[in-house]
């Protein structure tokens, strides 16, 4: 574009003012990128949920157990290819603040249902052979500086047969995630050890995880399973993993709405700031714009030049802001544990571009129209 030097020269006119406007735009887009990541992190459970997995819980209340004997019957249901079970241990590691998921499960089954948890073969073998062994995800290991071979003590509400409530595990393995959004915050140990040692609740599990052959059959299979256990002492509620996670996300509240509201305020303010700068800039240039018209620049061309200038300003600030957001997001969870999976969602960059475009157009249109409409003769007479 041969007009670029002309447009660029206008931005360099009042360098300080351009710089600070640019910086405000940068901060706005930094917030945009970062807060979208925060909003996404609250709902991440929903996104990483397996498409071909169902979750089965007690229908009456989520805190009530299911019998392990249900396993066989569930396996027989047509369309079901694999089943695992799990229990929420809910213990305390050192301090109640150190909250993380502790799961008692059948190791083979659990790992089969969650193939995205990658565990080296040797660690897997060690874990299988170790009754009081456990594995944890990399995020958790990093958080508490655990190494393989460490002994992890956890205090739980579950009383052991020996009367104590302190349980100890050997860390036999650390699993990594197949994708950046895989949950690596879980601590998993043997159900057998759990069930054999605990005083109450023999033969009970917290929930089942089921893999089905065809995801679109989910509703039918769910209904079939629930029908199977209807009117028994342990009625079930089966849903897709996604719906299950969504239920939790929704319980937190509409984080998305709050974040959207904040970002709207931010963008409104930025619009004012940048818009004001552009208006001032055009107002100062009235004579020059008149001269350009004298030279033969058409009204449409003048309009375009001002809009492009505004878009350039928005683009420079916006791209830098988004880039900075990306860097900041890489530093991970800002809340110290609540949002373990903290990444920049793939769509947000595209969304950011659209926002840049809209900002540039919105801040530039009024000044551009003013520039386009000015009358040469009157403007020159002003000088």
């Amino acid at each position: 574009m041969k007009f670029l030097p002309l447009i660029w020269s206008n931005l360099r006119r009042k360098r300080v003012r351009t710089l600070f406007t640019l910086l405000s735009i940068l901060v706005a887009f930094l917030m945009f990128g970062y807060l979208i990541a925060v909003s996404n992190a609250f709902n991440i459970g929903v996104q990483i949920a397996g498409v071909d997995r169902l979750v089965l819980t007690n229908k009456v209340s989520i805190i009530l157990p299911l019998p392990i004997s249900d396993l066989e019957r569930i396996e027989q249901v047509p369309g079901v290819t694999d089943v695992a079970h799990a229990d929420w241990f809910g213990g305390i590691y050192q301090d109640p603040k150190n909250f993380f998921a502790q799961i008692a499960a059948d190791p083979e089954r659990y790992l089969r249902l969650y193939p995205e948890f990658l565990l080296p073969e040797d660690q897997k073998k060690a874990w299988m052979a170790d009754r009081t062994g456990a594995i944890c995800g990399k995020y958790l290991a990093d958080r508490f500086h655990w190494k393989i071979g460490d002994r992890i003590p956890i205090m739980a509400a579950w009383q052991k047969k020996d009367g104590t409530t302190s349980w100890e595990f050997n860390l036999d393995g650390i699993y990594t995630g197949a994708t950046p959004t895989t949950d690596t915050t879980q601590f998993i140990f043997h159900y057998k050890y759990f069930d054999e040692s605990r005083v109450n609740g023999h033969g009970e599990v917290g929930w089942y995880i089921i893999r089905i052959a065809h995801p679109d059959q989910a509703p039918q299979i769910a209904d079939r399973i629930d029908a199977m256990f209807a009117n028994s002492d342990y009625e079930t509620k089966t849903s897709t993993e996604k719906a299950f996670m969504q239920g939790f996300a929704k319980q937190v509240g509409d984080i998305g709405a709050i974040i959207t509201a904040i970002l709207s305020v931010v963008f409104f303010i930025i619009l004012l700031v940048a818009g004001n700068t552009m208006m001032q800039s055009v107002r100062e240039r009235v004579t020059e714009l008149a001269v350009l018209k004298t030279v033969g620049f058409s009204n449409g061309l003048i309009l375009t030049l001002v809009l492009v200038e505004s878009l350039m300003l928005a683009a420079m600030g916006g791209l830098l802001g988004l880039g900075l957001a990306w860097l900041l997001i890489r530093r991970g969870d800002p809340t110290g544990g609540a949002l373990p999976i903290f990444v920049m969602p793939t769509g947000s960059l595209a969304l950011g571009m659209v926002a840049i475009l809209l900002l540039g157009l919105a801040t530039g249109s009024l000044p551009a129209l003013q520039a386009m409409r000015l009358r040469v003769v009157q403007s020159l007479r002003r000088a």
Binding site: K2, F3, P5, L6, S9, N10, R12, R13, T287, E288, V291, L292, K293, T294, V295, G296, F297, S298, N299, G300, L301, V376, V377, L380, A383
Partner: protein, 246 residues
């Protein structure tokens, strides 16, 4: 004026008629309304300017000379009458058409130079060429050519604030001629200059007219500047009063 001069002026007008004048202004009126006040700035002006002429437009302040210049440049529309430049009836053109027409046919020089302070001399001169389809190199060639003509090739990368008034005006003139326009219109080009710079600018204008055949119409209230033109036209109270040939 002596009878000789009057008849000579009649001759030149006649010559213009037959040769086909470049500029033909017929019975042009211009009215401004300021609130409830109505001002008749131009009241029936007739003017012919043949190709290659150098006309000085003189008159007291408020006589409408700048208004007439603006009409010739297509920056304003007459309230009545016709303005024809070459084959174009510019009084009948729309805004977009006029802009396009201006880029090809008019070079304007202002009293206050009106260079863009954020651009170098050569970028300022380049501006009219951005409206053409010339390539980067072709534009560069034209720009350096005209900068040579006005004698400022060594200052091409300077910013207006680094140039003297006279130098700025020369850049402005270069800008005005770079696209090889039909008409060069100057509004008090030496009004803001010291004596020495004034002479330089007038020398340049004369050279452009005599050696390069540029048609120039110059508004001035300075008789000394007007003396450099081929012809002086007097405007008073919106009407052309008389002509004098040099």
């Amino acid at each position: 004026m002596s009878p000789a001069t009057i008849s000579q002026s009649q001759e030149s007008t006649a010559a213009a008629e037959t040769a086909g004048a470049l500029v033909r202004v017929r019975d042009v009126h211009k009215v401004y309304t300021r609130g409830s006040e109505r001002i008749d700035v131009l009241q029936g002006v007739n003017l012919d300017v043949p190709r290659g002429d150098f006309v000085a437009l003189m008159g007291p302040s408020g006589s409408g000379k700048t208004t007439l210049l603006n009409l010739l440049a297509g920056l304003d529309r007459p309230s009545g009458g016709t303005v024809q430049i070459g084959h174009d009836r510019i009084d009948k053109m729309g805004e977009g058409e006029l802009a396009r027409w201006r880029s090809h046919h008019v070079g304007f020089v202002f009293q206050l130079y009106n260079l863009l302070p954020t651009l170098t001399a050569e970028r300022n001169v380049e501006l009219p060429l951005l409206l053409t389809s010339l390539s980067v190199n072709e534009r560069k060639k034209h720009v350096s050519a005209v900068l040579t003509v006005v004698g400022l090739s060594d200052r091409s990368k300077h910013y207006p604030r680094q140039l003297s008034g006279g130098q700025e005006q020369r850049v402005a003139i270069a800008r005005a001629i770079v696209a090889d326009p039909t008409l060069l219109l100057c509004d008090e080009p030496t009004g803001d200059l010291d004596r020495k710079s004034e002479e330089e600018i007038l020398d340049l204008l004369q050279a452009l007219n005599r050696e390069h055949g540029k048609t120039i119409i110059m508004v001035t209230h300075n008789a000394h500047a007007a003396a450099r033109a081929r012809r002086i036209v007097y405007l008073n109270k919106g009407q052309l009063q008389s002509e004098a040939i040099q």
